[in-house]
C-alpha cells in the first residue's frame, strides 16, 4: 500500500474500550490522519470505519496511543468499499441490540487533570465533589447495563447542562463522551460541604461517607476515643481498620514503602495496601490495628476524599500541597454493621447506620453495584490480593484457552462468584460470609448482574462439595447442571487458571478447612492436578479439631490437640487452663467427641499460636496466625523438626520444639522457617520423581507473606517455579475462579 491511496477499513476493537475515552481517541486520530468515517460502541466493543490515505498509520495508533484506562484485547480489521461522498468523521449512537461481549471498566481514582481543576479556584468545577472525565471516575459501580452509555448508568437522572453538553460533544475535549461527567450546575450534590465533614471528624465524630461502591465509616485515626467507639459500635473485635492519608508522602510517615508498594498505592485502582509499620510512626489510636506490624493504607480516590484532605491542608490553591506530607490520617472502614453487606442506598444508610455514625454524608448519585475496597500486598516481587473489589472488578482474568460458559459460586466465607466467557474469567467483587441473609441476597444479585452485563448464559454451575454451604444450595436451586469441585482442587486450580498453566502440575493447598473427596476434613493437601482432575498425593498429619469451627477461633484448643498428638495430653490442663475449659477439651480430644481429625495447615498454625500464647482466644478467625506472622523478623530453621512418611508431613517435632522457646518471637520465627523448609522437603522428591517443574501454591495460609515468600524462594532455589495466587485471593475469595476452571475443563 502506498500513501495517498484512499482505502476504507472496518475495524473491530475488543477489550475494555467503553467508558474510557476510546471513541474520542478514535475521533482524534481520524482528525490527525485526515480520515472520514464513523465509530460506535456496541455489545462487542468498538466498531469503526475509517477512510482515507493514512489508514495504516491510523490503525497502528489505535492501540499504541490508547487512553490510560483502555485495555485492548484484539483489533480485527477488514477492507471494505470506499464511499466517495462521505464527509467528516462521526460518533454514532450506540447499538444496544446484538450480543454483549465487551468489558465494563473498573472504577478509577481521580486523574491528575481533574485534580488540577478541583483545586483551581478559577475553574468552574473548583471543589466540585463529582468531577470526572474519560480517564477517571466511577464506572462499574454506576453501570446498570451495557453498552456503557449515560442513560444506562446511575447518571441517567442528571441531564447535562449546556457547558457540560458542549464538552461532551467536543471531540477535542477530555470529557468528550464522558458518560458520568457532571458539574455544579447539572450534577449530583453532596449533603455536607467538606468543611463541615472535616469539622465533624476533628470533633471526634464518626462520619459515614458515601463512596464509589458503598458507604465508609470514617473517624480521626489519632483520636483514641473515636476509634474505640467505632470499634465498639461496629462490633469489630480485633480486625484492623484501614488508614486513609492524603498521599504517598504522608503514608511514608507511618509505613515503609517500596517502589512496588508505592505504585500500588498510587495506581488508579487505589486499593488498600498492606504495609509494614514504621517504629517511629506518628501517634495513631491503638485501636486502629491492634498489635499488628502492618497497616492497611489507602489514598483518596473520590473527589470527596480529596476535598477533606484539601480542607485539612487549609484549602490551598493548586496541587502543590498534594506532594507534601499532610498530618491528617483517617480511619476508613466499610460501613457494614453486624457482618452485613456494605450499605449503598441513602435511605438504607440512614436506617442501618443510625446509632453508629454521628453524621451521614450522602449524595444523589445512586450506587448501582456494591463493591468493597480491594486489599493488596506486595509479595515476592509482585502484588497479591487479600480481597478483590472496587477498582479491579470486573477486570477479567485471561485463561489459557476458550472454555464453555460456566458460573461458579465459590465457598461459604469471603465468597465471590466467577463467570467464564470465551478465554476470560470474570471474578466478582468480594461478597462476604454467607451465613448472613443479606449477604446471600448480595450473592444472588451479583450472579444476576454479572451474567447480565456479560451477556452470558452459563451451561453449568460449579460449587464446593460441602453440602451445607449456602453457595452449594444456591447452585442446586439454579436448575442448571451442577459440578461439585473439591475445595482444595479449586484452590490449586485457581492459581493454574490465572497463570495459564495447561500442563500437569503439583499443587499445595495450605488452607483452613475444606471437605475432602473422602468426606474428611482437609486443609494441608498435596494434589496432582491434570486437566480437570486432581489426585491427593499427600497431606499434613492430622490433628483433632475439638469443637469444630470453635477451634478455628480458639487456637488454644489446637494446642491441646497437638499436645495429645505428642503424647503429652496430661500437660493440657497445666499449660492451657488459663485460656478455657482445658480438662473438658482434653476429654473431647481423647474421647473423640466433636473433635474431627483434620489435615488443615491453618489448624497447625493455630496450634503453634496456642502453644506460644499468641491470641489463644481470637476475636476473629485468622487473627492469631496474622499476629504470629507479625512477630517474625527473620524466619529460622529448627533442623529436622518434621517427619515425612507415606506422603504425610508431620510437624509434631516442630511443635514440641516450640514448647521450649524463650519467647513468642523466637517461636514465630522457628515455626515459619521450619514449616517452609518442611513443605519444600515434602514436595521436592515428589516433583523430581514425577518430572514436574511447576508447583502451584494456594489456600488461606498463603495470605501469610512470610510463608509465601519463603516457599517461592525455596522452590526457586531448587529449580522449581512456584506459582502464587496473584489475580485472585489465596483464600476462599479465589475459590470460584478455580471451580469455574475445573468445571469448564470437564465440559
Amino acid at each position: 500500500m502506498t500513501a495517498g491511496t484512499v482505502e476504507r477499513w472496518r475495524v473491530r476493537v475488543r477489550g475494555r474500550v467503553q467508558g474510557v475515552g476510546f471513541r474520542p481517541h478514535v475521533h482524534a486520530l481520524a482528525g490527525r490522519f485526515g480520515l472520514t468515517g464513523w465509530v460506535l460502541n456496541d455489545g462487542e466493543g468498538v466498531l469503526l470505519e475509517g477512510q482515507g490515505a493514512a489508514t495504516a498509520a491510523f490503525r497502528a495508533a489505535l492501540s499504541a496511543d490508547a487512553p490510560p484506562l483502555a485495555r485492548i484485547d484484539a483489533v480485527e480489521a477488514t477492507r471494505c468499499p470506499v464511499q466517495p461522498d462521505e464527509r467528516g468523521f462521526a460518533i454514532r449512537h450506540s447499538r444496544s441490540d446484538g450480543p454483549v461481549a465487551t468489558g465494563v471498566a473498573p472504577d478509577a481514582a481521580v486523574c491528575p487533570a481533574c485534580l488540577s481543576e478541583l483545586f483551581d479556584p478559577a475553574d468552574r468545577r473548583y471543589r466540585y465533589p463529582f468531577l470526572n472525565c474519560t480517564h477517571c471516575g466511577p464506572r462499574y459501580t454506576i453501570t446498570r447495563r451495557l453498552p456503557y452509555d449515560r442513560p444506562q448508568t446511575a447518571m441517567a437522572g442528571f441531564p447535562l447542562c449546556r457547558a457540560c453538553a458542549a464538552e461532551y460533544a467536543d471531540p477535542a475535549d477530555r470529557r468528550f463522551h464522558a458518560q458520568p461527567t457532571a458539574c455544579p450546575d447539572c450534577g449530583p450534590r453532596l449533603s455536607h460541604p467538606p468543611e463541615a465533614i472535616l469539622a465533624d471528624l476533628k470533633a471526634g465524630r464518626i462520619v459515614a461517607v458515601k463512596g464509589l461502591g458503598g458507604f465508609h465509616l470514617a473517624c480521626d485515626a489519632a483520636d483514641t476515643q473515636a476509634v474505640e467507639r467505632l470499634r465498639r459500635v461496629k462490633q469489630r473485635n480485633g480486625k484492623p481498620f484501614a488508614l486513609m492519608v492524603a498521599n504517598a508522602a504522608s503514608a511514608e510517615r507511618f509505613v515503609h514503602l517500596g517502589d512496588g508498594e508505592r505504585a500500588l498505592l498510587e495506581g488508579t485502582a487505589r486499593p488498600i495496601v498492606l504495609l509494614r509499620r514504621r517504629d517511629d510512626a506518628p501517634f495513631l489510636a491503638p485501636g486502629v490495628a491492634p498489635g499488628l506490624a502492618w497497616l492497611g493504607v489507602l489514598l483518596p480516590y473520590t473527589p470527596i476524599h480529596h476535598l477533606i484532605f484539601h480542607e485539612a491542608a487549609g484549602r490551598p490553591a493548586g496541587t502543590a500541597w498534594m506532594e507534601e506530607p499532610q498530618p491528617l490520617a483517617l480511619v476508613m472502614t466499610s460501613a457494614n454493621p453486624g457482618g452485613e453487606p456494605l450499605a449503598i442506598g441513602n435511605a438504607e444508610a440512614r436506617e442501618r447506620l443510625a446509632g453508629i455514625a454521628d453524621t451521614i454524608v450522602d449524595h444523589d448519585r445512586p450506587i448501582v453495584v456494591r463493591a468493597d475496597d480491594s486489599v493488596v500486598r506486595w509479595l515476592a516481587g509482585a502484588p497479591a490480593f487479600l480481597r478483590r473489589g472496587r477498582g479491579h472488578v470486573p477486570e477479567p482474568i485471561k485463561l489459557s484457552r476458550p472454555v464453555p460458559p460456566v458460573l461458579a459460586v465459590g465457598g461459604h466465607l469471603k465468597a465471590t462468584i466467577c463467570v467464564t466467557r470465551g478465554d476470560e474469567a470474570f471474578l466478582s467483587q468480594h461478597i462476604g460470609d454467607l451465613d448472613n441473609l443479606a449477604t446471600l441476597d448480595f450473592l444472588e444479585e451479583t450472579v444476576a448482574h454479572l451474567l447480565h452485563v456479560l451477556g452470558v448464559e452459563p451451561v453449568a454451575v460449579a460449587h464446593d462439595r460441602h453440602p451445607d454451604f449456602q453457595s452449594t444450595r444456591f447452585a442446586e436451586r439454579m436448575g442448571l447442571p451442577t459440578v461439585a469441585v473439591q475445595h482444595h482442587h479449586a484452590h490449586v486450580a485457581a492459581v493454574l487458571a490465572e497463570h495459564g498453566v495447561g500442563e500437569s502440575a503439583l499443587g499445595l493447598a495450605l488452607d483452613g478447612f475444606g471437605l475432602g473427596m473422602d468426606g474428611e476434613s482437609w486443609g494441608g493437601e498435596m494434589l496432582l492436578v491434570e486437566g480437570g482432575r486432581a489426585e491427593r498425593l499427600g497431606h499434613l498429619a492430622r490433628l483433632a479439631q475439638p469443637g469444630g469451627d470453635l477451634a478455628a477461633r480458639q487456637p488454644w484448643r489446637m494446642a491441646a490437640a497437638a499436645l495429645v498428638r505428642m503424647g503429652r495430653g496430661d500437660e493440657i490442663v497445666s499449660r492451657l487452663a488459663s485460656h478455657g475449659p482445658a480438662e473438658g477439651v482434653r476429654r473431647m480430644i481423647e474421647g473423640g467427641v466433636n473433635a474431627p481429625p483434620t489435615s488443615s495447615c491453618g489448624r497447625w498454625f493455630d496450634a503453634a499460636c496456642g502453644i506460644l500464647g499468641v491470641r489463644p482466644v481470637a476475636g476473629f478467625e485468622g487473627e492469631a496466625p496474622i499476629l504470629l506472622e507479625s512477630l517474625v523478623r527473620r524466619p529460622r530453621l529448627a533442623p529436622g523438626a518434621w517427619r515425612v512418611a507415606d506422603g504425610v508431613l508431620d510437624l509434631t517435632p516442630l511443635l514440641e520444639r516450640l514448647l521450649t522457646v524463650a519467647d513468642a518471637v523466637e517461636g514465630a520465627e522457628l515455626f515459619h522457617g521450619t514449616l517452609t523448609a518442611a513443605l519444600i522437603d515434602w514436595a521436592l522428591p515428589v516433583l523430581r520423581g514425577r518430572g514436574l517443574r511447576l508447583i502451584a501454591l494456594s489456600g488461606g495460609c498463603l495470605m501469610n507473606g512470610v510463608l509465601a515468600q519463603g516457599l517461592a524462594e525455596g522452590f526457586a532455589a531448587a529449580g522449581i517455579a512456584a506459582l502464587l495466587p496473584r489475580k485472585a485471593p489465596a483464600n476462599d475469595g479465589g475459590l470460584s475462579l478455580g471451580q469455574a476452571w475445573v468445571a469448564s475443563l470437564g465440559l
Partner: protein
C-alpha cells in the same frame, strides 16, 4: 444366663419383668393375642383416630432425667399429642441382647410403667425377644400408640400463615446435652437432666386456650432448626426468630460452648413448637406458662410472607443468620 430355646431362663425372666410392669391384661381377663379397645369409648372423645409408631435406640440406656423406657413412652405419646390427639393406648415391643443385666431391665421396665401412668395411657400389648450377643446393641424398644383427635381440631405442618406466632414451651438442648454428657467418652457429669417428658397434658391445655392453633411439632432429632425449616417449607412461609428470645439454660449454653455445638440443632424430648394465630398468641403463651412443663415458655418469632421456605434468626449484634437444615452431622465451615 443360658441362651437358646423358648424356655430359657432369661426368656422367662424377661417375660416376668415386662409383663408385670406393663399390666397388659385387665383384671380377670384372659390374655389374648391382641388388645381390644372399645369403639364407643373412643368415639366419645373425638372423631378421628391417630396412630403412630417409633423405634428407640439410645446410648447410654440410662441418662440424667430418663432412660430408654421413658423415652419410648414419651416419644410415642408426644407424636400423638402434637397431632392434637389424646393418647389412649400403647404397644411396646422389646428386643434384648442376651447378657443384659437384669437389674437394668427391671429399672427400664418400671420406668415404662411409671411414664405411662404419668401420661395417662395404658400399655395394652407388648412383646419381648431375646437375641444373641451382637445381634442388637443391649436393648431396642418399639412403641406404637393410638389416640383420638378431638372434633374440630385441624393441626398440620402446612397450616402456618404469615403473621402467626411461633411458641416453644421450654429451653432447648437439655436432652441432647444430657445424652452427650452421659456417654462415657466425655467423662463429665450431665450439665442438666434430659427434658424427656410426656407433653400431652401441656398440649391439651394449649389447645383449650388456643383452639385456632395451626400446628404443633416436637423438636426431637434435628432440633428446633429442623422443625422450623420443615414448617417454613411445608407452609410456604418465612420464619423469623430472635436469638435473644429463645430460652436456653446457661448450663446447656456452657456445654455447647465447650463442645462447639449449636443448641438449635440439639435434639429434645420435651420441647414442643406451636404456631398460633396472632390473636390467640397471648392466651396460648399464658396456658403454656401455667403448666409445669411450660414455665419457661416463650414466643420466639413469627411466620412471614417474605422469603417463603427460609428460616432467619436475628442475632443480638444486629445481623441476621440463616438457620438451615443440615444435610448430615454439622461439619466445620470456617476455612
Amino acid at each position: 444366663l443360658a441362651h437358646g430355646g423358648g424356655g430359657s431362663a432369661m426368656r422367662d425372666l424377661v417375660e416376668d419383668v415386662f409383663v408385670s410392669a406393663f399390666a397388659v391384661h385387665e383384671e380377670g381377663q384372659p390374655l389374648e393375642d391382641q388388645a381390644r379397645l372399645s369403639l364407643a369409648e373412643l368415639m366419645a372423645r373425638g372423631d378421628r383416630l391417630a396412630f403412630t409408631t417409633d423405634s428407640f435406640v439410645v446410648d447410654p440406656l440410662e441418662f440424667a432425667g430418663g432412660d430408654i423406657g421413658k423415652l419410648a413412652v414419651c416419644g410415642t405419646v408426644n407424636d400423638l399429642a402434637v397431632g392434637g390427639a389424646v393418647p389412649v393406648a400403647l404397644s411396646c415391643a422389646v428386643v434384648i441382647e442376651e447378657g443384659m443385666a437384669v437389674a437394668t431391665l427391671r429399672r427400664i421396665a418400671a420406668s415404662i410403667a411409671r411414664t405411662a401412668r404419668e401420661a395417662g395411657v395404658r400399655v395394652v400389648t407388648g412383646d419381648t425377644k431375646v437375641v444373641a450377643r451382637g445381634a442388637c446393641d443391649k436393648l431396642f424398644i418399639t412403641t406404637s400408640g393410638v389416640g383420638v383427635i378431638r372434633t374440630g381440631l385441624d393441626l398440620g405442618i402446612a397450616r402456618a400463615r404469615p403473621g402467626d406466632v411461633v411458641l416453644i414451651n421450654g429451653p432447648l438442648g437439655d436432652h441432647g446435652a444430657a445424652i452427650m454428657a452421659a456417654r462415657g467418652e466425655l467423662a463429665v457429669s450431665a450439665p442438666v437432666a434430659s427434658d424427656c417428658a410426656p407433653l400431652n397434658g401441656l398440649i391439651g391445655a394449649l389447645l383449650d386456650a388456643a383452639p385456632g392453633t395451626r400446628l404443633i411439632r416436637d423438636a426431637t432429632r434435628g432440633g428446633l432448626a429442623a422443625v422450623l425449616n420443615e414448617m417454613a417449607e411445608a407452609s410456604n412461609i418465612g420464619v423469623r426468630v430472635a436469638e435473644s428470645a429463645i430460652p436456653i439454660r446457661p448450663e446447656v449454653r456452657g456445654f455447647c460452648d465447650l463442645l462447639g455445638l449449636d443448641p438449635l440443632y440439639l435434639g429434645n424430648e420435651g420441647v414442643a413448637v406451636a404456631v398460633v394465630p396472632p390473636e390467640q398468641a397471648d392466651a396460648a403463651l399464658a396456658a403454656l406458662r401455667a403448666h409445669p412443663l411450660g414455665v419457661l415458655a416463650a414466643a420466639i418469632g413469627t411466620a412471614t410472607a417474605e422469603r417463603p421456605g427460609r428460616v432467619v434468626m436475628d442475632t443480638p449484634f444486629g445481623g441476621t443468620r440463616i438457620v438451615d437444615m443440615l444435610v448430615g452431622d454439622p461439619l466445620p465451615r470456617i476455612c
